[in-house]
Symmetry: C2
Subunit: 301 residues, 2 copies
DNA sequence: CTGATAATGTAATTAAACTACATTTTTGAT
DNA sequence: ATCAAAAATGTAGTTTAATTACATTATCAG
């Protein structure tokens, strides 16, 4: 029983496509051929039989099953179900042949699938206890400041303030390192500073958290594990997110960070309960005369 | 052969979970029991057999198969593969029992799944021709302005400018209605204004597009179909996105809009090719001395 | 070159899906 | 209420497909 089979038994999902890509070079000659056939059209493989594959490839049926075993599956049936599940998670896996037809990727597939992939990774990494701790810190703070620099993190910080003010949190956001520092030095024990950075390396953020911490404020970071920013944070929501190699495609990381902010915001909203309903009602009321419509729309959102 | 079976034959995916929820009331008594067992734990159903289900439910094996047929599947094998694919698309379907255990939703599951669902809807609605037209307009514009109001759309506008400047597009963003109006009235035939709004109703945006259009600029909107904003736009990227009823959870719409901006940006990046690589290289170079690291990170992103 | 190991295939077995037909239940008409 | 027809359901048998056991072939190391 290999480690993967143990994992499969324990109910932990194997990312079968990733596994396939990792082990393909170490497969035997016949199994490599099976792999090539599968990778040529992943979707087709979920709709076919052992004998269909063995005939198409020119290997025996047990070789196909052995291939599945090489990937840590119990057998072909297990392999197919896993493949089907993986197939749908990442849209970019669908019919890679159609991709090769034109010289460049279908942009929406590339962007959407990369985001879905990264969201999945993030969801698996997100530590519910840490999120809970962060939400509690924000909920009980006198004021909360969100800091980001560099454009991507900047808008996450701004959006965070925009989220939390709706729930009655005294929230501000800054992306100017000078303002961050200045504000941080006015903070105290009842206050929270949240720094947002994909890399965890901007000196402005590290400095500002250090300053706020020195005056007794609680410091939070949404960032990469082990980065310098984590060293000056009381609570770290850490995410180690893969970066897609396509340089023309903007990073999915900032969108994932926004999603994490939404998780936090939702939790704080629940903590505050009816109190929040009233502030949300007021916000909606303040805007409804502008649009003259009452349907469920993200007005002012 | 029913319409659904014809669709399955033609390779069009049936959303099996949606279908199940739609037809459950019209199923026969025994098939209803099978449905209840399946819906109780969708994931479990992908891992079991016809006989497993028939025993657990107390019906015959052919009844289980008939159930699958009622959903438009060829048989149980077809049903299982479809379920597996559907299961993974929407994270919210995973183990609904675990949700019911606590009185309130698992926040990260709620937020992530809602976003993935909404992304799926958006990807299906996104018209590649319109996106192509929009990308071309942006690519050939002298300058591009992004306008949004209300917080959510504001950051999308800002982020858009942040995306496009990297590709050498003269891009600005404003969320102050006065500035929008003022800038729009300086625009001309070589310029593009992009308005971003989930509802398509803010008067500021409508006015600014009208003004820009009157001076010959090309107007683009990323908004809801049929809304007033579409009436003053030359090119409309329209998305009719569902809103989740959970009022404490921020809308996924703005994240989807950001993703659409990424699609546009990627396309413009490709159109510009090598020229863009140089500007990206410069940007990275300008920042690398700050972080003293060269690994693939979204620096300044 | 030889022996051991790994890879692969053939043939048989097993498991699971599925069909055909019988039985039971439900429905609608009188 | 009764009866016939239709629908639902189950039993038993058949077929399909996955899998195992064992034989054969290929490869590697000494």
């Amino acid at each position: 029983m290999t480690e993967e089979q143990a994992a499969a038994k324990a109910g932990r999902p194997i990312d079968i496509i990733l596994k396939l890509r990792n082990v393909v070079d170490s497969l035997s000659a016949s199994e490599k051929q099976v792999a090539a056939f599968i990778l040529d059209d992943l979707e087709r493989a979920t709709l076919t039989t052992v004998s269909g594959i063995s005939e198409a490839v020119g290997v025996s049926e047990p070789t196909v099953i052995r291939f599945c075993r090489s990937l840590g599956c119990e057998g072909f049936k297990d392999f197919k179900i896993r493949l089907a599940r993986n197939l749908a998670v990442s849209l970019q896996y669908i019919n890679p042949k159609a991709r090769a037809a034109n010289d460049r990727p279908a942009f929406s597939d590339l962007v959407f699938s990369s985001l879905v992939d990264t969201l999945k990774v993030a969801r698996d990494q997100l530590d519910a206890e840490i999120v809970d701790k962060a939400a509690k810190a924000i909920d009980s703070a006198r004021q909360v400041a969100f800091y980001g620099v560099g454009g991507g993190s900047s808008i996450v910080a701004q959006d965070a303030a925009n989220r939390f003010f709706r729930f009655g949190v005294m929230a501000t956001a800054h992306s100017d390192g000078y303002l961050q520092r200045m504000q941080a030095s006015t903070f105290g024990e009842e206050d929270v500073v949240v720094a947002i950075s994909a890399t965890g390396r901007p000196q402005e953020l590290i400095d500002s958290l250090t300053i706020a911490k020195q005056y007794g404020a609680t410091t939070l970071a949404l960032t990469k594990p082990g980065s310098p920013l984590t060293k000056v944070s009381d609570v770290v929501i850490e995410l180690n997110l893969p970066e897609h190699p396509e340089i023309f495609k903007p990073t999915a990381t900032r969108l994932v960070f926004l999603c994490v902010i939404d998780v936090l915001a939702t939790q704080v909203g629940y903590m505050r309960g009816e109190e929040v309903r009233e502030t949300l009602r007021r916000i909606r009321s303040s805007l409804s005369s502008l649009h003259e419509t009452i349907d469920p729309q993200p007005i002012g959102d």
